[in-house]
């Protein structure tokens, strides 16, 4: 009787595990954070956010912003000058896509530019985020839709 109970429990655990794995295939890397909505319409133009006494504007060119194509990331800093060049980390909300780092170089007084690629995710989700890292000043996150 007790042996049967153990068998049934183990059987259920095995089935549950397989079910979870199947679920993870259909919704890979899914987590509550993946529900994040875009806060920036990058397809229409630059997006602005403020951090302390600075306004940070992110623009991605060419538009439409497409995955798997060469893109130019342009960051404009309005306010106090930075101590160094900012950089961008690209990723998906709630999904570990590996480190996709874009180095930016000073283009003019307050504009920094760099080249990068947004990759495609097999989940079909198109919401991406760019984390703009400002040396000694913190970071701002822009969340937007890309075209696959």
């Amino acid at each position: 009787m007790r042996e049967n109970c153990v068998k049934r429990t183990l059987c259920c655990a095995g089935i549950l595990f397989l079910g979870l794995l199947a679920f993870s295939t259909f919704f890979p890397g899914e987590s509550p954070a993946a529900e994040v909505q875009p806060d920036c319409d990058i397809q229409s133009g630059g997006c602005q956010k403020t951090l302390n006494d600075r306004t940070i504007e992110l623009e991605i060119l060419p538009r439409p912003v497409k995955a798997m194509s060469d893109l130019t990331f342009r960051v404009r800093i309005l306010g106090a000058p930075l101590t160094g060049a900012p950089s961008i980390d690209l990723g998906m909300p709630g999904m570990n896509m590996g480190r996709n780092h874009v180095k930016l170089e000073k283009n003019s007084m307050d504009v920094y530019e760099g080249r990068g690629v947004i990759v495609r995710c097999h989940s079909g989700k198109t919401v991406w985020q760019a984390t703009v890292n400002l040396p000694d000043a913190g970071k701002v996150i822009f969340t937007f839709d890309v075209v696959y």
């Binding site: 397989l18 199947a22 259909f26 919704f27 890979p28 896509m97 590996g98 097999h122």
Partner: protein, 231 residues
């Protein structure tokens, strides 16, 4: 700029974290399918060969991306091949599921299949047989390594970047391959853990699990085919 050795270590570590965070979701069902399909056979060597095959493909892709020194040029050339690999993976998983459920013997599946070339046919016929050779999982792993995957693309961007920074095409090929091999090796522990967890040899009455597993494999296979066609 980072030294070559530190890049390899970074990408090995990235592979480990991506393995446990992302690959389990993407490649997990494939690994589970292989484990279930092995049924009562030892699974260590087949899974080792599957992972070696997958890692070799990553190394090859890294060499190409490093040699081209451009990720987007690489992606344009490999897009069709990767979609085809996803469809092929789906078909293989469906066939494994059908064969495992015992609904159709493997010999019948392959007799009914269109001629796909003697080597491919022989390899997959071997995979479906009850007595399998562990080495048969090497070409399977090599094929499945082509499946499109976000973190692999991200690592390939870095491989292409090392190619850009390399002095010559040859050193770009070598550094790209090295980086992707490091990344691939890093992803192995997570998939090995999944393989070991889904080896049900310890379970006495496991036929019901195999039946449910077969249905799940077919569902996963259909999903892969659909994704390959629409991705």
């Amino acid at each position: 700029m980072l030294s070559t050795n530190s890049i390899y270590i970074i990408f090995f570590t990235t592979g480990v974290t991506i393995g446990f965070g992302h690959c389990i979701g993407m490649c997990g069902p494939i690994v589970v399918s292989l484990s279930l399909q092995l049924k009562d056979k030892p699974s260590t060597w087949p899974h080792l060969f599957y992972n070696i095959g997958r890692t070799l493909t990553y190394g090859f892709l890294g060499a190409v991306a490093g040699g081209m020194a451009s990720f987007t040029r690489f992606a344009e050339n490999f897009d069709g091949l990767q979609k085809g690999a996803m469809v092929a993976a789906g078909v293989i998983i469906i066939l494994m599921g059908i064969s495992m459920a015992g609904w159709l013997p493997s010999s019948v599946i392959f007799r009914a299949a269109p001629p796909v070339g003697a080597i491919v046919n022989k390899t997959f016929s071997q995979l479906m047989k009850k007595k399998k050779h562990a080495l048969m999982y090497l070409p399977l792993g090599m094929l499945l390594g082509l499946i499109p995957c976000g973190p692999v693309y991200t690592a390939l961007i870095a491989a292409a970047r090392t190619g850009m920074e390399a002095g010559s095409t040859a050193s770009g090929i070598l550094s790209g391959a090295g980086l992707m091999l490091s990344f691939g090796i890093g992803t192995i522990p997570a998939l090995f853990v999944v393989a070991k967890l889904t080896n049900l040899r310890w379970l006495k009455h496991r036929e019901i699990v195999y039946r449910i597993g077969a249905i799940l494999m077919i569902a996963v296979g259909i999903y892969f085919v659909w994704k390959g066609l629409t991705f």
